[in-house]
């Protein structure tokens, strides 16, 4: 019995594929006839927002993407950056927001799986992962369920695959109530002369299917990810894929082994829109046609139609163009690892994408046009409004600054994320030098005596909401700062742009201005964007998420013996503030979490000052003068010092200066750090800071077991630790009650 591939194309069917009437007309004009059902599915997969970047492309082109260190910028599976000695780091960040909201465990797990595959497809062994997670407000009915499922899913996949999770973010805000964010980052190491690309070469060569079998899971996933949610999301559960980290681990080993044999001409993982996207990508890049015979595709379900096979998002699959003479050798490797290896088609010279199923041609499309002719929109956008300046004197002070500090240390967004990251394997591979809890995750470069890589993922969505341009700059600057705080030289970044519905001019305005800010900061700080992902339509029932352009940065530490950490200081060491005293309270967590307000502009980012302060710090770290360092971000100087003290297990007695108390303590002015130095070096460092034009002030001395700031506050380490460490476990245990001791 044959499997029916003919389904009548109706207006409803076209709309159900997320294609607008004018987009459908474009298809008719392009192929000169009505598409078959399979072809409609292929167009819908290639032309949705997720795969085509149709709303964002115009603006993404403005980002700086090159530099002497960049080997491969955006457009491949992942970006590639030179780290010297013939080694390179391959990395990317990608969202899995919609699937994770529908099915948190599998959604998050396959997000991790997808990004790992992007990295090892290029010939790199994954060496580090991060996850930027954003959830609704803690007391929203779904939040605990999502946190629990997403964290278990991230850990379940990454731990089993065997990559250390060295960093990330977890944030709560009511604006994510109906739409959580799961942004997964992975980085791998490869040799610069052994990087693999997706561009097919050579006519008549075998197209090989590798990995797991194809099922019906995830059919239509990419289209789903390009639509807003409403109350019927439960019905979308079947569009979420199911992950199998064991198969992925085997696929990693098999692919790396295969790549060493010289058999691989081109390779592409099957991610969004599976077989369709991967085959089109390989052919179109290589100016070749591709012919696939679906009867040869390994399947795990019966009677799958051509449409289902072409749109399946079953995980742990790859497509490859193979040197024919190496077929036996290649196959033996996959058999050894228990994986499927099937020749499913060939490259052709006619630039057609031809699909045959049960002996019948079910699709025959121009392969280049599928990508190149995808619609591209210059969507109308609205210049976001700006906030009037907010002097600190207009922000109320509080009676008890000690209580305010404890509130921040123990708040949903300020509390320790230990509960989360202890569920991730942070140590596997034996190269982890800094695990979560510091400014950046750091791993040493295997096989090199002194080199290490630092990773950080950052964005402050409330800043972006208040001022998309400054917020976009700040996301890059903070990432750069976190890398710098370990002593790393930031090399490049990946961006994961999460926004609402771009068809709304105010949302489009956020996207446009945030990209402008990101681009400006990346250019000024020499941190080009080498890969990325855009996730739009993050809205439920018309409410958009906070604009969240997550930046994942990578930096190089030449000698990890001199790297800085946040807590490596002791009694008698001197704490020095670099970058000036706090003055700015607009959009601060002091406003939000202590006063329960949100107003004013976010702190402006002066990129010249950012660079100057950071470069000074980096040179001091590389000279071995800095014992410990922490950047100043949410919660200002006092939260930074408190976190350092908790990490070191030693208190400090500091002087907050002559400015307004609340601004000095909690101001979130940018380009600032707290450093700890030996008392013998304090004067030397400040003289150098003065010479470099970097504002500095000696805060005080480490010692005792309390953090004291004159008469303003004095809190024991034990009290701070209790507030900081207990929120997350208490919340997840379900015993959380609204804190009554907020100032």
């Amino acid at each position: 019995m044959t499997i029916p591939n003919d389904i009548r194309i109706t207006e409803d069917l076209i709309a159900a594929h997320g294609l607008k009437p004018d987009e459908y007309q474009r298809i008719l004009d392009l192929i000169g006839r009505e598409p078959s059902f399979t072809e409609l599915g292929i167009f819908s997969a290639m032309w949705n927002e997720h795969c085509s970047y149709k709303s964002s492309k115009k603006w993404l082109r403005t980002l700086p993407t090159s530099g002497p260190q960049v080997i491969q910028g955006p457009g491949e599976n992942a970006g590639v950056v030179d780290i010297g000695d013939g080694d390179c780091v391959v990395f990317k960040m990608e969202s899995h927001n919609h699937p994770s909201y529908i099915e948190p465990y599998q959604g998050a797990a396959t997000g991790v799986g997808g990004i790992l595959r992007d990295v090892f497809t290029m010939g790199a062994r994954p060496v580090a992962a991060m996850n930027a997670l954003r959830f609704g407000e803690p007391d929203h009915a779904k939040t605990r369920h999502l946190v629990s499922g997403v964290v278990a899913g991230v850990g379940g996949y990454g731990n089993s695959f065997g990559v250390p999770t060295v960093g990330g973010e977890v944030e709560f805000d009511a604006r994510y109530n109906g739409n959580c964010l799961v942004n997964a980052f992975a980085a791998g190491l490869a040799k610069t002369d052994a990087i693999f690309y997706s561009k097919a070469e050579g006519v008549g060569l075998p197209v090989v299917y590798l990995g797991a079998k194809t099922g019906r899971d995830g059919v239509g996933g990419a289209t789903m990810a390009s639509a807003e949610f409403d109350d019927s999301i439960e019905e979308k559960r079947p569009t979420v894929q199911v992950g199998d980290p064991f198969t992925e681990k085997c696929l990693l080993e098999a692919c790396l082994e295969l790549m060493q044999t010289g058999a691989v001409i081109a390779i592409q993982d099957m991610g969004a829109a599976g077989l369709t996207c991967s085959a089109v990508e390989m052919g179109a890049k290589g100016d070749l046609g591709i012919e696939l015979d679906l009867d040869c595709v390994p399947v795990r379900e019966e009677r799958m139609s051509a449409y289902e096979m072409m749109l399946s998002e079953s995980q742990e699959r790859m497509l490859m163009v193979l040197r024919p003479e190496k077929e036996d050798e290649a196959k033996a490797i996959f058999v050894k690892w228990g994986l499927d290896f099937a020749i499913v088609g060939k490259t052709t010279d006619d630039l057609r994408f031809r699909i045959v199923h049960q002996g019948e041609e079910v699709a025959n499309l121009p392969i280049k046009d599928l990508g190149d002719e995808a619609p591209e929109y210059d969507r109308p956008w609205m210049e976001p409004g700006r906030h009037a300046p907010l002097p600190a004197s207009n922000v109320p002070e509080v009676e008890d600054y000690g209580a305010a500090l404890l509130t921040l240390l123990g708040s949903a967004n300020g509390a320790s994320r230990r509960w989360v990251w202890e569920q991730y394997d942070t140590l596997i591979q034996g190269n982890s030098l800094q695990i979560p809890g510091g400014d950046a995750g750091v791993i040493r470069v295997d096989g090199h005596e002194t080199k290490a890589l630092a990773f950080s993922s950052d964005v402050t969505p409330r800043y972006v909401e208040a001022d998309p341009y400054e917020g976009g700059k700040q996301a890059v600057a903070e990432c750069w700062r976190n890398l710098t705080a370990t002593g790393a030289l930031p090399l490049a970044a990946t961006d994961n742009l999460n926004f609402g519905n771009p068809e709304k001019p105010e949302i489009m305005g956020q996207l446009v201005k945030a990209i402008e800010g990101i681009g400006e900061a990346c250019a000024a700080l020499d941190m080009p964007i080498v890969s990325g992902n855009v996730s739009l339509y993050n809205e439920t029932n018309g409410v958009a998420i906070l604009p969240t352009p997550t930046i994942g940065g990578v930096g190089l530490i030449p000698d990890w013996g001199k790297m800085a950490r946040i807590g490596t200081f002791s009694e008698g060491d001197v704490l020095i503030l670099l970058g000036g005293d706090g003055t700015h309270l607009g959009q601060s967590v002091y406003l939000r979490d202590v006063l329960g307000e949100a107003y004013g502009p976010p702190p402006p980012v002066d990129l010249v000052i950012e660079k100057r302060n950071g470069e000074f710090l980096r040179s001091a770290i590389s000279n071995g003068q800095i014992k410990a360092c922490h950047d100043i971000s949410d919660g200002g100087m006092i939260v930074a010092v408190a976190e350092m003290c908790m990490a070191a297990g030693v208190g400090a007695d500091i002087d907050i200066g002559d400015g307004a108390v609340h601004a000095a303590l909690f101001g979130e002015d940018q380009a600032r750090y707290v450093v700890a130095v030996g008392s013998d070096l304090a004067n030397w460092l400040t003289i150098n800071a003065e010479g470099a034009g970097v504002p500095f002030r000696i805060l005080g001395t480490a010692g005792g077991n309390a953090l004291t700031a004159g008469a303003n506050l004095s809190i024991s380490l034990a009290e701070m630790k209790k507030a900081h460490e207990s929120w997350f476990p208490d919340f997840m245990a379900g015993e959380f009650v609204e804190s009554a001791d907020a100032a």
């Binding site: 731990n159 065997g162 990251w421 202890e422 596997i428 591979q429 034996g430 990890w560």
Partner: protein, 225 residues
């Protein structure tokens, strides 16, 4: 002394283990694949950690039934030292080379953190480099490390001094009975432990408390008798 590392699909701390053995002994271990039916002439056989076969049945259950495990059993019977870490420990239990079982952590969560281990018996081939009662640091990273055995088995383990490592100072991360972190068989030549000594052997790891275990098992200079 020569060492062999057993490789099974899904194990993922094999590279960590190979690196540790190489750095400590100066010689890379030989590797033995899942379908191999014999293990070369070595003095130490190690089954590293990970998720063999995805741990899709009980942890270690599929691995325990692979051909290479028969070879491990033969080596153990010959008195060759055999050591299983994490998934390796689970496999040795499933293979019947050690008594008891490892259940899901009491927290029901995967846990990766540093714990303290008390060396409960320093009189084994694996622990001679430590002193009895010594407390060392060691990381754990597992989902199923909650050691369980019936009362008789526990009594026998305790009476025979087969408990070699115990979680100390309140750091039991998984709910294991008697704080058991590692045990040996009656003959003392088979060790199973949940913590990862291979991840704490050098300055980059922030300490080298795990080193003495390998030095003992490999009879390296500096280890007493």
């Amino acid at each position: 002394m020569k060492a062999a590392v057993i490789l099974l699909p899904g194990l993922n701390r094999d590279r960590d283990m190979i690196a540790a053995l190489t750095k400590i002994s100066g010689t890379p271990p030989v590797t033995v694949w899942q379908t191999d039916t014999a293990i070369p002439d070595v003095d130490l056989v190690v089954i590293p950690g990970g998720f063999s076969y995805g741990d899709y049945l009980r942890c270690g259950a599929i691995a325990a039934r692979m051909p290479v495990l028969d070879a491990v059993r033969r080596k153990a019977a010959e008195g060759v030292r055999v050591m299983g870490v994490c998934n390796g420990f689970q496999i040795l239990l499933e293979a019947g080379l050690l008594p008891g079982a490892l259940m899901r952590n009491a927290s029901l969560h995967f846990v990766c953190r540093e714990v303290k281990l008390e060396v409960a018996n320093a009189d084994t081939a694996f622990t001679r480099g430590y002193s009895k009662g010594q407390v060392i640091r060691c990381p754990v990273a597992h989902h199923d490390g909650n050691y369980f055995a019936d009362a008789d088995t526990l009594k026998r383990l305790e009476d025979n001094g087969q408990v070699v490592f115990r979680y100390a100072e309140g750091t039991n991360p998984n709910g294991s009975m008697h704080d058991i972190a590692g045990i040996v068989n009656e003959a003392g030549n088979v060790l199973g432990m949940m913590p990862h000594p291979e991840n704490l052997i050098e300055a980059a790891h922030g300490g080298d408390d795990g080193r003495a275990l390998f030095e003992s098992a490999l009879d390296l200079a500096g280890v007493a008798g």
